[in-house]
């Protein structure tokens, strides 16, 4: 009995456990103190450095006016060139300044949004998810940005730019080379030829007085460094390298001017250079590429917000992601003190949290949108927006024209047109999407200048479809309600779509019904994502597939519809080829001038509409709720105006620290 675990032992064990837990809790608390101390220490060092800089400047007697607060220094030199001039009003903060005149405008409060998961890392270039790029969008800035109303490029870090378009000289040279190359042996690598004209170069003049969030000024060296860093093969950014490979080099002209030299004329050249986020050289050059690849949170830039600790962010489950206002921002400060992203993965939990008023934004599905609109409590506390975004993608059905080397029934354009006319797309929009979508006529977003407004989507017209199909030879010969070819083969096919998506499920079942009414049998076949991709992209072993493409303001149809992309795993998985379209796409991609390029895209749009390689279904509307205390959220052509222009009046402030 002496070694029995008795009451005293129990008490002793419990006491020991309590003691250990208290020690652990105390250590935890010390850690919290440590964090606070560290951040205070950081702030002090920053301030000391700022003071030293100020004193230096005062001693030199040259305290430059910060461009954000002073008069407008842009619009200095304007070069020649086709579309080379930057817009006349070069003040990127005019809109914010206008809002600041509102009587109830106030700085302060937090903006609380939601991510579904904690991003793995915030380090630019090596991060891969959309959440990280959202955060980076508030911290990093690029040379220029699109004006939310006009969609024109507007200077940001750059004050103006000049474009040298030498396309004609370059083309002449290339043709000469080709002619010579045919004569002499395999054309020597022409890139080294000093006589080769530069096809395209863009010179950006940088705005003086732009500083990073640690107070260091942004110069041409930082721009050059950013490009070289991306192109460094040891940096794990193959995607970005592929994206920027059209740029030959970036040169420093002087302290405040850089020149982007391109390898060939390319229509998106300006966009490429303009949206490159500029990284501070003095910060990032402290790490080797390997350390950079491994890092989770090296994020610093010149933007309106910054990470509290630009070096030490780590993903931590259950913890929010926070950005604080960059108090050294060179432009107009945004209103919110902090941007906070809470992590809520479950959709029901997110909806409940929004209803409780704990988050400020809720992008809704059509059903949720209607339900929330009927709720008087939500109505009184929130504002909602319903709009078509020019960057929204579209859903489609792709008709495979070539299967195991043999043309399918869809190789005939009339069949594709007829099937499109048999599918009542407007009813899908009305009944499945509850009206929150728009039928599209081609791959370009209807709001993009790329889209030809004169092209109307094919109508829902079963009679015309039947006539077209009859022309091809499809007729209901045995009176069973299904169309057949003369040899008795019925018009029957399998439609693949991603499994597990409720929207696709409902759309596909709807299409099955409308097609059946026209005498066409469609067998819906959902497939798991990777199996589906393998079938469609690699094996090309399918009849038809329903998928979606994401969109940009000016998208590139080359990837999807050019015949060079037919061999697997190219994205032209329907094996659609039209030489006329190929030539048009190539020409448009080489045309740097926008006024000359858009008519070419319009022609592309018309051909695609006529050929119907896809049945283009619809593009969704954005449905979003915001907390009512946030003011000045406005619709723009780009969607909504940027968050930097929103604010919360003083008396409605909710959060502060």
């Amino acid at each position: 009995m002496d070694n029995r675990f008795g009451f005293k032992d129990l008490v002793f064990t419990l006491l020991l456990a309590v003691f250990i837990i208290s020690v652990w809790l105390a250590m935890k608390q010390m850690d919290r103190h440590g964090d606070v101390l560290r951040s205070i220490d950081q702030k002090l060092t920053d301030q000391t450095r700022d003071l030293a800089r100020l004193r230096r400047l005062l001693d030199q007697g040259s305290l430059a006016l910060s461009p954000g607060h002073g008069s407008n220094p842009g619009s200095a030199t304007q070069g020649s060139g086709d579309q080379g001039e930057s817009p006349a009003q070069a003040d990127p903060f005019a809109r914010i300044r206008a809002v600041q005149q509102n009587p109830d405008y106030a700085l302060g409060d937090f903006y609380v949004d939601v991510f579904a998961v904690v991003p793995d890392r915030l380090t630019p270039l090596v991060s891969s998810d959309v959440y990280a790029s959202t955060v980076q969008g508030y911290v990093l800035e690029s040379l220029a940005q699109r004006d939310p109303e006009t969609l024109e490029w507007q200077p940001l870090i750059a004050s103006d730019w000049t474009i040298e378009d030498n396309t004609d000289a370059w083309r002449a040279y290339m043709q000469r080379q080709e002619a010579e190359g045919a004569a002499t042996a395999p054309a020597a690598d022409a890139a080294d030829d000093p006589e080769r004209p530069i096809p395209l170069a863009i010179t950006f003049r940088l705005r003086p007085g732009v500083v990073f969030s640690d107070g260091e000024p942004l110069t041409a060296d930082d721009v050059v460094f950013t490009f070289d860093w991306i192109m460094n093969p040891e940096v794990e950014a193959p995607r970005e390298r592929a994206y920027y490979e059209k740029i030959l080099r970036v040169e420093k002209v002087d302290e405040l001017a850089v020149r982007f030299v391109f390898k060939e004329p390319y229509y998106q050249a300006f966009e490429l250079a303009a949206v490159m986020p500029i990284l501070p050289e003095h910060f990032y050059s402290r790490w080797t590429p390997q350390e950079f690849n491994q890092s989770t949170g090296l994020l610093m830039g010149s933007g309106p917000y910054r990470l509290e600790d630009p070096e030490g962010w780590r993903p931590e489950p259950g913890k929010n992601i926070e950005l604080v206002r960059n108090e050294r921002y060179w432009g107009e400060p945004p209103a919110f003190d902090r941007l906070v992203w809470r992590i809520i993965e479950n959709d029901a939990a997110r909806l409940t949290t929004f209803r409780n008023g704990d988050i400020d934004e809720f992008p809704a599905q059509p059903e949720q949108y209607q339900m929330l609109l009927k709720d008087p409590d939500v109505q009184s506390r929130t504002q909602h927006f319903e709009f078509q975004s020019p960057t929204a993608g579209y859903l489609y059905i792709g008709w495979n024209q070539l299967r195991s080397g043999k043309p399918t029934i869809f190789a005939d354009r009339r069949v594709r047109q007829a099937l499109t006319m048999l599918i009542d797309r407007q009813r899908i929009v009305d009944e499945v999407m509850l009206g929150y979508a728009q039928v599209v006529s081609g791959p370009f977003n209807p709001l993009s200048p790329q889209s030809d407004p004169s092209v109307e989507p094919w109508p829902y017209d079963p009679t015309r479809a039947a006539a077209l199909l009859k022309e091809v030879g499809f007729e209901d010969r045995n009176r069973d309600g299904v169309l057949e070819l003369p040899d008795g083969r019925p018009l029957r096919f399998e439609l693949n779509y991603p499994a597990g998506s409720e929207v696709f499920e409902r759309i596909v079942l709807f299409i099955k019904d409308t097609l059946a009414r026209g005498g066409v049998v469609m067998d819906p076949k959902p497939l798991e994502w990777s199996v589906l991709l393998q079938r469609v992209k690699d094996d090309r072993n399918y009849d038809a597939v329903s998928l979606g493409w994401s969109g940009t303001i000016e998208s590139d149809p080359y990837q999807i519809f050019h015949s060079s992309q037919i061999p697997a795993p190219g994205d032209n998985s329907t094996s659609y080829a039209n030489p006329q379209l190929d030539a048009l796409i190539e020409q448009a991609r080489m045309t740097v001038n926008e006024e000359e390029r858009m008519p070419l895209w319009h022609q592309v749009h018309r051909i695609l509409h006529e050929d119907q390689p896809y049945t283009f279904l619809f593009t969704r509307k954005t449905l979003v709720f915001f907390d009512g205390r946030i003011k000045n959220i406005q619709r723009t052509r780009l969607g909504l105006n940027p968050l930097q222009e929103w604010y919360v009046p003083q008396e409605q402030r909710k959060w502060s620290r």
Binding site: P238, A242, I344, E345, A349, T353, S530, Q565, P569, R657
Partner: protein, 358 residues
């Protein structure tokens, strides 16, 4: 006993190799193959040629272009403390002792060990709170139910626990949030996460100030854990309670109990000193399952309450066929599972003198 334990520990190695090889082969043969879903997502707005280059880069970087068995052999070499040194360019260096390494996750481009170090504390925290609750409630109610067999406590606890056991966690979780964390009904608890928005600037312990009660950091954190822990625990009561009840009942009708009662031992002592100790064997068998489940985590609870622990990490790894992550999670889970089996066998010998491994 010691030789037995050593023998069992040595047997662990081939068993683990078998487990990981099997998991690896299933992953390699699944559609898309190893890392397939990750490589598929690289496409985006890139053209085919560019995409091919990006793909080739990743295939080379993570050795995905090698045959499956070579990849497995490389992984074995990587995790073993004895083997070839791996050079930064992927070639093999000298044979000898080296640092075992779980490798880099293909899809998240971060060391696997870091990912596990982030997810594990969450899972441990949740389980270290919920497992003691499940066990104490389950065992106590089982004992009481056996003691008052057929009376109201036995019947009502049985019915209640079975009812709880039949409620699916995914539904319960959503209902708990919808009812107990919703302004429209009762807003008692938070909907997601582990801390409030302003937790960083809270005092540590709760206190009363002029403006009222301030919960403080500690209480705030515990408050956030109430719903997830409830979800993790409620279904476990029925099983343990029924198990304890039946094994105690079995022992209560044994001869030695009659003897004890006959010689005048009090009913309390009969139950706690004689019967309970003899009923432990069945409980030990079940308890061996705790250790692995402490680390495994629950995908459903973690997803509903947005606290990503080991469960989600594992499921995500499988979805993306992330070679290093799947194998590491398998290795750890397998190791813990096998070790707890061994512990169970040792515990048998301690609890029951009749069991011996000599």
């Amino acid at each position: 006993m010691l030789t037995y334990i050593i023998r069992r520990l040595l047997l662990l190695i081939p068993t683990l190799l078998g487990i990981t090889l099997l998991v690896f082969l299933v992953m390699a043969m699944a559609p898309g193959g190893i890392g397939g879903p990750m490589l598929d997502e690289l496409g985006g707005q890139l053209q085919t040629a560019q995409m091919q280059r990006v793909r080739a880069y990743y295939e080379q970087r993570y050795g995905l272009d090698k045959p499956a068995l070579v990849q497995y052999a490389r992984w074995i070499n990587q995790i073993s403390p004895v083997g070839f040194e791996v050079m930064p360019d992927g070639s093999l260096g000298e044979w000898g002792f080296k640092r075992p390494d779980l490798g880099m996750s293909l899809t998240r481009h971060r060391p696997v060990i870091d990912l596990i170090a982030e997810a594990l504390p969450i899972t441990l925290l949740l389980n270290l709170i919920s497992v003691p609750i499940v066990y104490s409630v389950g065992i106590l109610s089982g004992m009481l139910a056996a003691r008052y067999r057929g009376q109201w406590f036995d019947v009502s606890s049985g019915v209640a626990f079975l009812a709880l056991w039949s409620v699916p966690t995914i539904w319960a979780g959503v209902m708990l949030i919808g009812l107990l964390a919703n302004k429209q009904y009762i807003q008692l608890f938070p909907t997601a996460g582990l801390h409030s928005m302003l937790a960083d600037s809270m005092p540590f312990l709760p206190r009363w100030t002029e403006s009222g009660f301030e919960p403080g950091w500690l209480l705030d954190a515990l408050w956030h854990l109430v719903l997830p822990v409830t979800c993790l625990s409620y279904a476990g009561f029925a099983f343990l309670s029924k198990l304890t009840r039946s094994s105690i009942l079995e022992n209560l009708s044994a001869d030695y109990v009659r003897t004890a009662r006959a010689k005048g031992v009090g009913e309390r002592d009969v139950l706690l000193r004689h019967v309970f100790r003899n009923s432990l064997l069945a409980l030990i068998t079940v308890a061996a399952g705790i250790l692995p489940s402490l680390l495994a985590g629950s995908v459903i609870v973690e997803t509903i309450f947005s606290i990503p622990g080991m469960g989600r990490l594992g499921v995500q790894a499988v979805q993306y066929r992330d070679r290093e992550l799947v194998l590491a999670v398998t290795l750890i889970a397998g190791f813990i599972g096998l070790v707890s089996e061994l512990l169970r066998d040792v515990c048998y010998a301690i609890a029951d003198p009749r069991v011996s491994y000599e």
